[in-house]
Amino acid sequence: MKGKQREALGSAAAGQWWCRVILRGLALSFFLVGTIFVFFPDATVHAMNAIGFWFGDFTPLPSSHGRFWLSLATGYMALVALLAYAAQRDLRRHRDLLGFLALGKATTAFTTLSFYLHSTPAFIYIANTAVDGAIAVTALAIWLLIPWIVPPSAVRAAEVAAKRPLLSLPVFSAVLEAMVPEGGPFHEGALSARIEPLIEQFVAGAAAPMPAALALVLRLIDLSPFFLPPFRFQRFSRLPLSQRVLLLEAWEKSAFPPRRQAIHLLKLLVVAHFYSRPEVEARLGYPHPLERVPRPQ
């Protein structure tokens, strides 16, 4: 590879990394701000009035009792948080979402500007115009940048990954190894048996929600050490084998039925595929039924 090409690819990768970081940051801030709005609506207005007073002669805005509008605003914040989160997951495929995000933010920026100019010159209005306007511009900028920084090959890889959601998850291998590790009474383990494609193929033949449900379960398992006991401050997929086994056992013994049922489903798929292998059956002393009782000629 020539030096210039390598340089271009390197800068494209850096661009993608920055775009993702910005969008993740936005998603997180939308979520936090939306949460603050819904739980502390009056305190938010008072705080913004105080900041406005510090900056200059803005009219303080009275706290509102319009809880209905607040609920709509919360829904809006949740929506824009999801838009930003989904967009950073796959920049090229979900590029259009950035257009919606920019449109939403531009709308609130113009609305609050209009209130500021024609209704009450409150600090909170002009602050929102500045913040949301900046976000709209940022979203549009990322939208424009994406064709330059995400090469088509990355799109194809993302499409392949989208079609094979399980195989693309590192946590899948980590779960396989924890469920049936190598060693012990016989050498083979689920990871070395390469049963992942078989599981994926099997699940693909089930009802439509099954592959997505399984991918969701795997993602939850991966993040579970952060929010479910026994707590660990690492993703499941990065934990050592003994810790992963402990975590899976915690899922299996959980008093929360959906958690237990989710791991049961996953266990069914993994152990059923592993223990149906003829060499493993032979290790267990289980003869193939048609060798034990041949078909009639």
């Binding site: 924890a178 033949g205 049961h264 059923a272 290790r283 267990l284 034990r292 009782v293």
Partner: protein, 514 residues
């Protein structure tokens, strides 16, 4: 004649006397009886036609081939309950254990008294039962095929003074391959795919495989046939349709799919009985580990049954599964689970099944059933008692430890622990529950407000439409329902034939078309 979508591609219109949607215990009987009586019959089946030569005895391969949604069918509610269903010619009879019991006299008497279905009790259904048993070769499992797992359990049960017996099955020439639920590779089990369906085909019926019934055709309030999507080997629609125009239409898609078909056809009134009153047989399994090798796989998997607790609605029935399915029942992960699996040859399992008192509902979401079932405390307590009883029998037989599938006590190590188990407070979701034999979602009876189908099998308010499957059963028959469904289907076939004869004679429609 068997017709696959590839044999006659494109949209197709067929005419006949009777269109039968489904080839399980109900549909196969109606199709065979009517075809043998001279009616022109077309059977539609969503799955493929397999016989012994096609069955590999490989659990996962056969689940992929023969089970609806690869076995991921079930109910939601206060717990998740897997309800495996067959999707192949023969329906669930192709993947069941072949157990064939007559519905007990008290159940038939209740159906007669409370639901106004005439002539069931006091031997009223005996001739139908006898005929079917003769056709299927129903006989108790011979002692030499009981299998070491069942023998071990049996020893324990006898030590506790419990009564039991070898299970009557529809197997002819069975040698205990041990994979009944993955399709019998020797065609010994007389499932519908090797018994009634071949009989229907020999009598001139046409069988459209991979034809997924979509809705009933209605004209002036009368059923005039079925329209089906033709599907490829992968189960996806080919974009081709099959229209079967018939003088009489019979739905036999099973208790979970028949209500969906009725709803899609606009025949399930809001608040009406269709889709309600779902009954199942909730079940669990208990696995024991012995010090000595058992080799439980040698013999018939569901070979022995304990009578003792029938008055409580608790049934203990033999079961054996290959390592792939067995592994799921053992608790734990990692090397500990592997150590347990290494002792597979030392293990034996037994099934626990209860006759439910809870009731569920089948809702229609697109083309699929959404099954809602809330298992009540009584059923939960009885299932737990069944698990406790099975564990006791295993300990009495000398088991070292017993795996229960109960969250609070996944492993028991003594008789005392087994006895204590049934007294623990438990929720349905604490147990690993699966269920068999869904039924009752279009029940038969004389009261049109409570029931969807007349005692002759015709749907109330829809002339020309008959239902012949497990949906008909008004309550749980207490035992495995295959024989009861077949007996009622025999009656419905007779009623249908009489009605056809009254309407201008068998074959009239097809003759008109030609």
């Amino acid at each position: 004649m068997i017709v696959r979508p590839e044999d006659a591609p494109g949209d197709l219109v067929e005419h006949c006397d009777v269109a039968v949607g489904g080839s399980g215990a109900g549909g196969a009987v109606v199709a065979a009886d009517l075809a043998c009586a001279g009616a022109q019959v077309i059977i539609l089946e969503e799955g493929e036609y397999y016989t012994g030569r096609d069955f590999t005895a490989h659990a996962l391969a056969e689940i992929g081939k023969l089970y609806r949604d690869r076995g991921f069918t079930g109910a939601i509610g206060n717990t998740l309950i897997a309800i495996p269903l067959g999707r192949a010619v023969g329906g669930t009879t192709t993947i069941n254990s072949g157990t064939c019991w007559r519905a007990p006299e008290e159940v038939l008497g209740r159906w007669e008294r409370e639901f106004g279905i005439p002539n069931l009790a006091r031997g009223g259904l005996a001739s139908e039962f006898e005929r079917i048993e003769r056709t299927l070769g129903v006989a108790p499992v011979p002692d030499d095929l009981l299998g070491p797992g069942a023998e071990a359990f049996c020893r324990g049960a006898r030590a506790l003074g419990w009564r039991g017996e070898n299970i009557p099955r529809n197997a002819v020439g069975c040698r205990g391959t041990g994979v009944c639920v993955f399709g019998c590779p020797r065609d010994a089990k007389q499932a519908m795919n090797v018994s009634y369906i071949p009989q229907a085909l020999r009598a001139g019926a046409r069988l459209h495989v991979r034809a997924r019934a979509e809705r009933v055709l209605i004209e002036d309030g009368r059923a005039v046939g079925v329209v089906a999507d033709r599907v490829g080997p992968d189960g996806r629609a080919r974009g081709e349709r099959l229209w079967v125009v018939a003088a009489r239409t019979v739905l036999s898609a099973g208790a979970l799919l028949t209500p969906v078909l009725l709803a899609r056809s606009g025949l399930a009134e809001r608040g009406g009985p269709v889709g309600r009153n779902l009954r199942i047989h909730p079940a669990s399994r208990v696995t024991a580990r012995f010090d000595r090798p058992i080799r439980a796989w040698e013999g018939v998997p569901q070979s022995y049954h304990i009578h003792e607790f029938e008055p409580e609605g608790i049934f203990l029935q033999g079961m054996v599964v290959p390592p792939a399915i067995h592994a799921v029942a053992l608790p734990g992960f990692g090397h500990a689970h592997k150590e347990r699996m290494a002792a597979y040859a030392h293990m034996a399992s037994f099934g626990v099944l209860i006759s439910d008192t809870s009731s569920g509902r089948v809702l229609t979401v697109g083309r699929r059933p959404l099954v809602w079932y809330w298992m009540n405390r009584n059923d939960t307590a009885r299932l737990l008692r069944g698990i406790s009883l099975a564990a006791r029998a295993f300990f009495a037989a000398g088991a070292r430890e017993v795996f229960t599938g109960v969250r609070q006590r996944p492993v028991l190590r003594s008789m005392a622990e087994a006895e204590e188990l049934e007294h623990l407070p438990m929720r349905a979701s604490d147990l690993e529950v699966m269920a068999f034999h869904p039924m009752g979602t279009a029940r038969m009876g004389a009261n049109a407000l409570q029931c969807a189908v007349t005692p002759d099998g015709m749907m109330y308010g829809v002339p020309g439409l008959y239902i012949a499957d497990a949906s008909l059963l008004p309550t749980s028959p207490l035992v495995n329902p295959q024989l009861t469904i077949m007996a009622l289907a025999t009656r419905i076939a007779n009623a249908l034939f009489r009605s056809l004869s009254r309407g201008g004679g068998v074959g009239h429609l097809a003759r008109e078309e030609t």
